[in-house]
């Protein structure tokens, strides 16, 4: 019985913790009988914008750790502002109306973080290379789509005989296809290609003509032959980053990688509950919740 009571006491002690600002009771304005305090304002802003704002502030910490501002970045941000100003004479008035102190405040809070975000994305492709290679299986290749097995066999023989991929595509390729022998980055995002071809290109031990015809496994199969140019991740990392960096899921993967690296942890119950419901992958110190996010992705 004493143990039960202790348990109840312990669970009672773990009431939900929500954060508050230091001068929460300070009044902001009084309208008739109604006073608004800074604490009330904080609570409302936290509910409406908190989840996004906390992540933005966390990103700024990550940027400063991983890709600190340098002179080149400052110049890029300045150039971006000049470009905006060239197309919009009232830009300074508009950003002040939005709440920024001045041009520099806007550059520091919007444009520089955006430049840093681009730099971080490039760095992510180096830092988390193993995961990205495993997931996207990138390789540079010349792929040709043929409409029949017979054409594909002939195309493969022609490649083996030393004809260029463009010549072979012209003679045996399917005109309407986007795979016409040009050199391109092949990844698992190329959903039209047979998985076996993507895997074979990624795991081939040397560049050159791929040894067989690869066909899709559906009722109306498409046939592919290919020449591997390179599957060296390190050698191709810039091209891989340029192509995959714009993938919407990559931005989230990048963020989660660095949140994990720096042990991002939330100490406000309301924000925690929001992330748990909407973006559990951000709760990196709770692997059980992150797993839920992976399952529902």
């Amino acid at each position: 019985m004493p143990l039960m009571l202790s348990a109840l006491l312990l669970s009672g002690c773990s009431s939900e913790h929500t954060t508050s600002i230091t001068d929460a009771n300070e009044k902001v304005m009084t309208i008739g009988d109604v006073s608004v305090t800074k604490g009330q304002e904080y609570d409302l802003l936290k509910t409406s914008n908190g989840p996004v704002q906390v992540i933005t502030m966390a990103q700024n910490v990550i940027y400063d750790k991983e890709v600190p501002v340098n002179e080149e970045m400052k110049k890029q941000a300045e150039d971006q502002f000049k470009l905006i100003a060239e197309n919009n004479e009232k830009v300074v008035d508009q950003i002040v109306n939005l709440g920024y102190k001045d041009k520099q405040d806007y550059i520091d809070k919007v444009l520089l973080p955006s430049v840093q975000a681009q730099a971080l994305m490039k760095k992510y492709f180096v830092d988390d290379a193993e995961t990205i290679e495993l997931q996207y299986k990138p390789s540079i290749a010349q792929v040709i789509q043929c409409d029949t097995k017979e054409n594909a066999d002939q195309a493969l023989q022609a490649l083996k005989d030393g004809k260029t991929a463009q010549e072979v595509a012209e003679q045996y390729g399917l005109d309407s296809s986007s795979y016409t022998g040009s050199e391109e980055l092949v990844t698992t995002n190329d959903s039209a290609l047979p998985t076996r071809l993507i895997n074979a290109l990624n795991s081939a031990s040397e560049a050159g003509v791929m040894p067989e015809v690869y066909e899709t496994e559906d009722s109306n199969p498409a046939y592919y032959v290919a020449v591997l140019v390179s599957n060296d991740y390190d050698e191709n990392v810039d091209r891989i980053a340029d192509t995959l960096g714009s993938d919407s899921s990559m931005a989230k993967s990048c963020l989660v990688y660095y949140l994990t690296k720096y042990d991002f942890e939330v100490f406000d119950q309301e924000l925690f509950d929001y992330y748990k419901q909407n973006t559990p992958e951000y709760l990196v110190t709770h692997p059980d919740l992150m797993e839920t996010a992976k399952e529902t992705d």
Binding site: L3, M4, M29, E41, Y42, L44, F272
Partner: protein
Amino acid sequence: MSDLFKDNWFVILIAVIIIAFVGYFVYDSNTGKVASKKADGKDVVASLADSNITADALFENFSQFDGALLYNLYRNAVVEQSVETTKEMEEQAKSMEKTIRSNVSSQNSSTYRDAITQELASYGYGSYDDLYDYALMTVKQRSLNQEYVDAHFENLKDSLKDAKPRIVSIIKMEAADPQNLTDEETKKRDSIDKAIESDSFAQAATAFSDDAATAAKDGLFGYVDSSSSASSTGLDQNLLTKALEMEKGETSDWIEVKNTQTGVISLYKIHVDETDLEKIHQNKDEDVKKSLLFSILNAKAGLEADILESAAKDLKIEFEDQDAKEKLDRYIEQLKGGNA
């Protein structure tokens, strides 16, 4: 020692079970609950690496851009204290709350509920449970706006003088294939045309229209003007365009209208009942009043803020935080410039 275990094995087993139960109970009670953290005496919202994001820092970031929230809090307080709540307003607010809650339930999604909660917070309401308060405020603000516009209509009506303001009525006739009417459908169409000619559009609508809602109101659809759109009024764009081309008393030919949801094509006639703004303003129909008010508020940038300022003159207003006053003033100026 072993004798002690042998003699009391049952008691020990029960104790172990209780301890395991208590352990699980404590663990379960604390699952999903965050710990608290402070840095330099300030609440920490989140941390990563060696950095803490404090509540104070978060608020500082927020408050730079809080003009809209300050305005909404100011609006809520002014409206709350300037308009007396009536039973009718309470009913309207309950109906609005019910509609929103029903939408939330039909979505069956807690993320949707989170989205509503966030939206309410940006309007100055702390939780999803404040939905009724928000609904009541909007009903009361509409009443405040209506009262002001009624009192200042002479000055405000000019804002709509080039907008082709009008009240329109409609008649709907369903047909299986509007291009090839059956004998019965042809007979009905001719009867409607005859009734419009010999009696009135209103009488024809009451007697024949297949649109139950408007037929019950002599065919009255409501107020439209050049700023109206199909999405804002629910009136088909072809009917809307035709309505704006016609003069008072004119009736259109039959117009084919495709229901965007069902794909079913029906035949419609539209009639312009009134174009005189004074007479439109005097119309007692609630929908007409609401639509006209909406158009006037939209046509004159910052009118809603002017109405609030006018009502606020009767209240004592004090700004303990001068920054807040500047941000609020700037936001109101933006509203008046049509930029917010």
